[in-house]
Amino acid sequence: MDPEGAPPIEKRLKETSDNQSLDEGRNEPMVKHSRQRGIITVRHPELCTGCLSCMLACSFHHCRMFSRSQSSIRIGKSLSEPGKGSRIVISLEHDQWAPVCDLCANEDHPLCIGFCPQNVFGLERRSS
């Protein structure tokens, strides 16, 4: 990939705003989630870059602020294990160390899925 010969700004603005592939998997109507309807899964931990965006977005859901401790997601990115992504843990039980994942109840979409630039997370639906 090389930006050599990139088109003018106006055209590129249109291209990027029209780029629907960016939103792939993120625009499904999932208003008012509940855990009975599914579960967040870590599909591709090997792709995780450790940017912590999911963790920050998750804490935002829980407290409308950004925090490491108020997130249901823990990211362990170790440079000593290159090429292996990250260790990712999601809090699913009430007796665990952090707020429990509620699939972003009352948000439009699960925020971790929306903010992850690597499509690490997925939503596994449960049939009712």
Binding site: M1, D2, P3, E4, A6, P8, I9, E10, R12, L13, E15, T16, S17, N19, L22, D23, T49, G50, C51, L52, S53, L56, A57, S59, F60, C63, R64, M65, F66, S67, R68, S69, Q70, G76, K77, L79, P82, G83, K84, G85, L111, G114, F115, P117, Q118
Partner: protein, 647 residues
Amino acid sequence: MTDFGYGYAGKILRVDLSTGKISTQPTEDLAPRFLGGRGINQWILLQELAPWVTPFEPANIVCYGAGALAGTLVPGACRINVDSKNAFTGGIGSGSAGGWFASELKFAGYDHVVVRGKAREPVYLWIEDDRVAIKPANSLWGKTVRETEKGIRDEAGHGDAQVLCIGPAGENLVRSACIIVSGCRAVGRCGLGAVMGSKNLKAIAVRGTGRIAMTKPDQFLSLARKTARRLRGLHEHQARKEFGSFFVSPKWNDISSLPYKNYHDDFIPDEVFSRVSHEVFHRAHELGPHACTACPTHCGHTYQVAEGPYAGTLCHKAEANAVWNFGGRLAMADAGAVLKAQEDCCQLGLDIDNTTGSIAWAMDCFEQGILSEEDAGGLRLAWGDHRVVIDLIRQIANREGLGNLLAEGSLRASQVVGKGSERYAFHMKGQDLIEAIRAAKGWALGVVVSARGGAHTRGAAVTEARKYSEEDSQRLFGVTTAGKASVYEGKPLVVARVESICALLDSVGVCFFTGTWGAPLGVSPEELAKFCSLATGVELTEETLMKTAERIHNVEKMFNVVHARFTREDDYPPARFMVEPIQSGSLKGEYLQKEAWDGMLDAYYALHGWDRETGWPTREKLEELDLPECVGKLGQAEEALRSRKRP
């Protein structure tokens, strides 16, 4: 909370290593005028550091500042800025790094850490929310960056603590020592690692459990989501995801703007360049990516040398600078050796730009017969010999043999050696130069007038290497020439605009690569104003934010006026670049014409409202920027300058 309480952690932590005293002050004392990060750091330095204090004295101050937006989901808001007195120039020393430290510092409750004094023995600073302690670091002294990180985490029992530290080079007061953040990201140039070493401060480690609040959280998140999605689609971000910043090197070589053999030329020949190209690193050596906090790009890539004498060496971060420095300036045509040299510098805490500057000087002097094999401890300092380079890196970090001389930088080394060796020391204001600047005139102006002593992270625009179209140029800078390398006209305007953008990005803590420095459609000043408004609750426009950025840039300039007395004569490129043309490449024959340079300087000073003769801010400009405290300092400096000029 009051204005500017939101978005910030809220406190500035102050530590005196001589007395052990630890205290705090509210960030809101300084945030309205100087935002955060570099802005607040440099204001503290200008106000509190006496001009006669030298870089390695206990009285020197070093400020660590997380950007105002760090710790949030603004794309690329991950930067920690470190500022102190420059170990090379005596003027401002300033650098920044990404990683995961800045957000953690804010979660611990602090926007800045201000350190003064000197500990009696090696120490590190441990910050865990409101529990701050100065801890012994005797067992860490002499250790590499990796060993230091591990040692601190093991002792703390927290594998997730974030560490900023120095290597042996900083301990040994090597002027090219840097600070390494999150294991592999360097706060480079200006000898800031040596300043930490002079204070016996091995590291700062932090762990935070607090929160960053926004006044309008939902709107803030919505804008962050929209901005991140746009960035993910940009050409530049796709390229950095794949190749890191290596991808820019061919563009610079295409316009004859990469140094080769200590500026014998500004073009790396194909037989060398093809062996250190971005594709070689990517295909032959890459293991996987890593990103800083809140970055959708992940320009970080871990490499493992695949074959040859350094096979198996891991290198967690290498920038385009590694190609310019090792591949270009030292002519090392071996990507594996480049990665080995880069990793050794990282683990020893050496800035690669300054380190290769003095090694290139030594190799040039060896070729000219000024330095002998005996001077070099039996080494033949031949261009491209990676074994020699790697040996010299170790010698410099430990101040052994010839390394003890090279640890001072090429200018000081040449002053010791004499014999005409000054001719081969390329520096700006006393600090080694790494950029090739004869072809691209805007790049050159930005590098040369940089207050931190060269370096392209102030006003040097990447517009020429990227060949910005006239439309992009007009839209972003108000001139059509930003993308035309050999044109002088319009470049002062481009540089002045980029300086403000850089000051803004450094102060809000957003990476240059996600900002408009690295991509025309990156996070814009207008968007940063919206983010700051939604975070703090204080209505800020692009205009007010850019005015703040200009204020910060003038504070930096005033530091140099007060502490180093740099004037117009320090804003000229090395003399050889004004008479010796480039030998090859597409812009063969280009050099910097003296008259044209004078014209650019006149226009540049006029745009800033600075004095044409001295290049210093005027009283009127300082008052316009709401910097009345600086007027008295300027008067004293002007009086001192007049006395110096008196016969």
